[in-house]
């Protein structure tokens, strides 16, 4: 008790409040600046904190606050700018479509309210469960983590609604992409093409940006218009309206918040899947599923409630027995060890003051960031009123820089471009991208934990673990339920137009719908014909066939997953190919459509932007990434803006990217730039 009181006495300590303020400020900074993560800021600051802040409570709580509250504002780039981070893919999928309807301020207001409530739920759960959590965490071994990840696979059934075969094939393809890298069980180098930088697999950020963000950025740039439609309401009042709406969703905050705590508390689940799993759970319990995938605010809230609370969940194993719940929490452990603080039972006894202040700071930090976010967003959301070419001129090169940071090698450029090409083609031919991304994220978790489970317990042993069996049965039940739920996100377009300002003249801010619509799917006479869609499907089958052949050179245990997944892609792809050859139609799918489709002069515009991006990529190799990104803004601003705006855009975008390169990339991160072909541009 005396330790608790001692902890609370810090509320009168100026140094504590100063450290708390700095942590909140850094969390706001991290949330707003694309390409900068809390992990990076913690890496940069940990030795400074440990060496200069003598009071362990203040140092540790500062780090915990930074990692615990940085998830609120990272929804801003995802919603406003169309740039998802590692854990804001659902927010991007649903929220960016809402921003396109002029609802950015409202959406973010609701996100803040639910995030704050989710954070409070997390902090409260942290305080309550630490004393009793240990047996629960120990009950989750390799088999249970693999089973939990299978919940995510069940989600594929929901994300594939409208195009089940394509969705399943995309998910299998994503899982197959997840097998790239060194297999820790067999030591096989799988599909690494001799590159050291693929040993740990495809980098998540580069793949996500390429698959999801870059196609949208290019699409939006082509429209030459702002993200939001004319008449969009962007001001603080709209943010507060959103907050009020969010507050009415307290049930989502509690339910999905607790789910986030649970997911965060299980070491090995990984932060990147939490939003997807929470989204799946939200859809499962929703009565009206027609909005999901085409701009559902509730969909965003399902993900965001869990995103924030999972941090407190990750704090649980960190404090309860020194197992970092996530990558950022590993820094907290490092700091604790450096300060001589022992995780585990002492956190409830000798160091209970640290625990109570951590709980308090997480709760207060979430509220503080929310309030700051509310006041900033009224202004920030005005970014959605700026013609997107100016945003794209800044965000596209920064996306390439973020991708490069993930491997410090130009292979990241190859990955982002390949993923963008794949993403664009998937959009064009109505293959849903979310299942692919989910499969990619889940692939390594499932395979590694399943293989480890087999090693430790044997196949027979798995079936004697009650928790594993329960989780597996639940995963199967959810998959079946989702698949029987029918059309998620495929109906109600009309009512959307009635209630929300939808961009007109474009074929879809909502889901991609075939020209003649899903309803036109007909079983009438169909002749066999080779179409571009069938060629794309054939290409997917071809890649899987190559992966299958390659897999036979792997050691036995290293080939099980690649062979199974390649076969799955080939079989599902073949079914789809027959469908394509018969010119069968695809229903509405759960993905963002091409906003520029149907625009006047779209072909010329497409050629211009593709030409410029191609020139940019060539430039990266010729003069180096650093200088190529600095000149990139010239294209979008001068090509796609008009009149005085283009010069203003140029005057803003070029200096912004130059400063970002010099300050963030060069000075703060000390990035090692790849050598360009022309030595004059060498930065070394």
């Amino acid at each position: 008790m005396s330790e608790l009181l001692e902890g609370l006495s810090y509320l009168g300590n100026g140094a504590y409040w100063a450290a708390f303020g700095v942590a909140v400020f850094m969390a706001v900074f991290v949330g707003l600046l694309p390409g900068v993560s809390a992990t990076l800021v913690m890496a940069l600051s940990i030795s400074f904190i440990v060496l200069n802040i003598e009071d362990p409570l203040i140092g540790i709580v500062m780090l915990a606050t930074l990692t615990g509250v940085d998830n609120t504002l990272d929804s801003i780039p995802a919603v406003l700018l169309g740039q998802p981070g590692g854990a804001t893919q659902v927010t991007f999928l649903e929220g960016n479509q809402l921003a396109r309807r002029g609802l950015a301020a409202h959406t973010l207001g609701a996100v803040y309210a639910v995030s704050a409530m989710g954070g409070l739920v997390g902090a409260l759960a942290l305080a309550i469960v630490i004393p009793v959590i240990k047996p629960f965490i120990l009950a989750f071994g390799f088999p249970e983590i693999a089973s939990m990840a299978l919940f995510g696979v069940a989600m594929v059934a929901a994300l594939s609604s409208g195009a089940m075969v394509k969705g399943l094939a995309a998910a299998a393809f994503g899982l197959l992409l997840g097998t790239i890298g060194i297999d820790p069980i067999s030591a096989a180098h799988r599909y690494t093409f001799g590159s050291l930088h693929l040993w740990e697999g495809l980098p998540l950020i580069a793949t996500t940006i390429g698959l999801f963000a870059l196609p949208e950025m290019i699409d939006l740039t082509m429209t030459r218009r702002p993200v939001a439609t004319h008449g969009a309401v962007v001001n603080n009042r709209e943010v507060f309206r959103g907050v009020r709406y969010g507050l009415t969703k307290w049930n989502i905050a509690i339910r999905n918040g607790l789910f986030g705590v649970f997911l965060g508390a299980v070491p090995g689940i990984g932060g990147a899947v939490v939003d997807w799993l929470s989204y799946a759970m939200g859809i499962f319990f929703s009565k009206d599923k027609s909005e999901f995938g085409k701009g559902s605010l509730d969909g965003v809230l399902f993900a965001e409630a869990a995103q924030n609370s999972k941090e407190a969940g990750q704090a649980i194993p960190t404090l309860a027995f020194g197992v970092p719940g996530g990558r950022a929490w590993a820094f907290v452990i490092v700091a604790m060890l450096a300060y001589g603080i022992t995780p585990g039972p002492p956190m409830l006894d000798r160091f209970a003051d640290i625990t109570i202040m951590m709980v308090f700071s997480l709760a207060l930090g979430n509220l503080a960031v929310t309030v700051i976010g509310m006041f900033l967003t009224g202004q920030l959301a005005k970014l959605t009123l700026i013609p997107y070419p100016l945003i794209g001129a800044i965000i596209i090169p920064i996306s390439f820089l973020s991708a490069y940071l993930s491997s410090t090698d130009l292979i990241a450029i190859f990955i982002i471009v390949s993923a963008a090409l794949l993403g664009l083609l998937m959009k064009q031919y109505k293959w849903p991208r979310p299942p692919l991304l989910l499969g990619f994220i889940l692939g390594r978790i499932i395979e590694f934990n399943f293989q480890s489970a087999i090693s430790i317990h044997g196949m027979g042993g798995l079936l004697t673990r009650p928790l594993t069996i329960v989780l597996l049965v639940l995963a199967v039940a959810i998959a079946v339920t989702f698949s029987k739920m029918g059309k998620i996100g495929t109906a109600g377009t009309l009512s959307d137009e009635e209630t929300m300002p939808v961009v007109r003249g474009a074929s879809g801010d909502g889901p991609t719908v075939s020209a003649d619509g899903a309803a036109a799917v007909s079983a009438k006479k169909r002749t066999l014909a080779i179409t571009p869609a069938s060629i794309f499907t054939l290409a997917i089958i071809g890649m899987a066939a190559w992966a299958l052949l390659e897999a036979f050179s792997f050691p036995t245990r290293g080939r099980v997953f690649p062979v199974s997944l390649s076969l799955a892609v080939i079989i599902l792809g073949s079914i789809q190919l027959v469908h394509d050859l018969r010119q069968g139609k695809t229903g509405a799918i759960m993905d963002i459509g091409m906003r520029s489709a149907g625009m006047e002069g779209v072909v010329k515009t497409a050629l211009l932007i593709i030409g410029w991006v191609t020139f940019f990529v060539v430039l990266i190799f010729v003069i180096g990434l650093k200088y190529a990104t600095m000149v990139f803004p010239i294209g979008p601003t001068l090509l796609f803006l008009e009149g005085r705006t283009r010069w203003i855009g140029l005057a803003v975008a070029v200096p912004f990217v130059v400063l970002f390169n010099l300050v963030v990339m060069d000075y703060v991160m000390a990035v090692i730039w790849a050598e360009p072909l022309i030595p004059f541009f060498s930065t070394r």
Binding site: S47, F142, A338, G340, G344, V631, L639, R684
Partner: protein
């Protein structure tokens, strides 16, 4: 269309001009890492011929029989008196202050931000610069995997402005086909700790008090788990060393392949009951803090010390003395030859700071002196030990370590064929 085409070309021209201007304004002013024109793989380069250093035997090491081809003793004792011959070229009238003042020293880290190696390097970035004349700014650049960082260092300009903080001596990794370096070509600036390891068991599940109790026993079986080594990885400390001992000493041992992500997972596995033993280096010293009571309650017992010749393991906060047998004392001379060849590259140093090959001697000596001065400062030393999570063990200077690098590498490369055969044999025997 023609007009658009012309506009497009104009844009490209503007872009190129802008790039030229930007590069001219802010281009080649960072001299930290100009690659050398040629990066020749040097796997077969002749090793240096060092003079063996005399290192007092550690407790439990009464018969440190010299073994032909075996590597040098582990550098855990007092410094040797005779300085080794210089390995790099001195600069004429070198002014260290002028060389480093206002410059940026880049320390590479072959791991992602947040791990132990990265945190220690960031400590050096924050605190070490003041011991270098001119007090240069030090920055950390993460370049993964560590093989890429060493490749990069090998190609870098040898001007003292780019260094690499490694987790282990890059000797074994130099045999990877992707490696373009030879470890002993690097200039060793310093190293804080060796990488002796402790094999620990679950004392509640297993009836053994020491490795000698398990020799020839039919059970219960020691069950360990970890990732598979790649064909190039002659993994020493965690896995293969245990395989060899199990084979030579007839221990009931089984190794299960899992996707292990490091120490925390190993601790979690033993706590969940997935395994009943694990091997760790610095974690031995950190365990009382990470898992208080594990050792004092008998849940975890030290089972064996895994060290090279002369390697010394001491007690930690929960046990005053390290009393378990040193595995090297229990094996034959012939086995010691193999043991040393496999273990020394992993164990003789842990973390180490290297400069590119052919860095001028004056620069190398300046950096080595800065390292020694920093460690001689009680405040720096105490802070560094806090970040390391263990006492600083290595007393030798960078120059002395340079010699030992060469000896260890020489022995390792000469015996690598035999070592691989041994590895494959025992690996298949115990792995499930």
């Amino acid at each position: 269309m023609k007009k658009a085409y012309r506009s497009y070309l104009s844009l490209v021209a503007i872009a190129v001009l802008t790039a030229l201007v930007l590069a001219a304004c802010g281009g080649s002013d960072d001299p930290t890492a100009t690659p050398r024109p040629t990066a020749t793989p040097v796997p077969d380069a002749p090793a240096a011929q060092p003079t063996p250093t005399s290192v007092p035997s550690a407790p439990g090491e009464p018969t440190a029989t010299p073994v032909p081809g075996a590597p040098a003793p582990a550098p855990t004792a007092t410094p040797t008196s005779a300085p080794p011959p210089p390995t790099a070229t001195p600069l004429p009238s070198f002014d260290a202050e002028a060389h480093f003042k206002g410059k940026t020293v880049r320390i590479l880290v072959g791991f992602n931000p947040g791990g132990g190696t990265d945190t220690q390097a960031r400590f050096l970035a924050a605190k070490w610069g003041q011991y270098i004349p001119g007090n240069p700014r030090i920055v950390i650049s993460n370049l993964t995997p560590s093989l890429a960082a060493n490749n990069f260092l090998f190609q870098s300009e040898p001007n003292g402005l780019i260094l690499n903080y490694n987790a282990t001596a890059p000797i074994q990794s130099s045999t990877d086909p992707n490696a373009i370096f030879k470890a002993s070509d690097f200039e060793v600036i310093g190293a804080p700790v060796a990488r002796n390891a402790v094999w620990m068991i679950n004392g509640q599940d297993l009836p053994y008090n020491d490795i000698t109790d398990a020799m020839g026993a039919s059970g219960p079986t020691l069950i360990a788990a970890g990732s598979a080594p790649t064909p190039q990885e002659l993994v020493g400390v965690g896995d293969l060393g245990n395989f060899l001992l199990a084979d030579w000493l007839n221990l009931p041992y089984e190794f299960k392949l899992v996707a292990s992500t490091g120490t925390e997972q190993e601790l979690l596995m033993i706590e969940r009951g997935d395994t009943n033993n694990f091997t760790a280096g610095s974690v031995w010293y950190q365990l009382p803090q990470r898992r208080p009571g594990w050792i004092s309650s008998g849940f975890i017992k030290p089972f064996a010390g895994l060290a090279g010749p002369g390697g010394l393991i001491v007690g930690n906060a929960e046990v005053e003395e390290f009393t378990a047998s040193y595995a090297r004392d229990l094996i034959t001379d012939e086995q010691k030859d193999i043991w040393d060849g496999l273990m020394a590259p992993e164990m003789f140093v842990g973390k180490n700071l290297l400069a590119p090959p052919d860095t001028p001697l004056d620069i190398v000596n300046t950096l080595r002196k800065a390292w020694d001065d920093a460690l001689a400062d009680p405040e720096f030393r105490a802070d560094f030990e806090r970040i390391l999570g263990q006492p600083i063990e290595i007393q030798q200077s960078g120059a002395e370590l340079q010699e030992i690098f060469a000896q260890v590498e020489d022995a390792f490369l000469r015996n690598i064929g035999q070592l691989r055969e041994v590895q494959e044999g025992v690996y298949d025997k115990f792995t499930r």
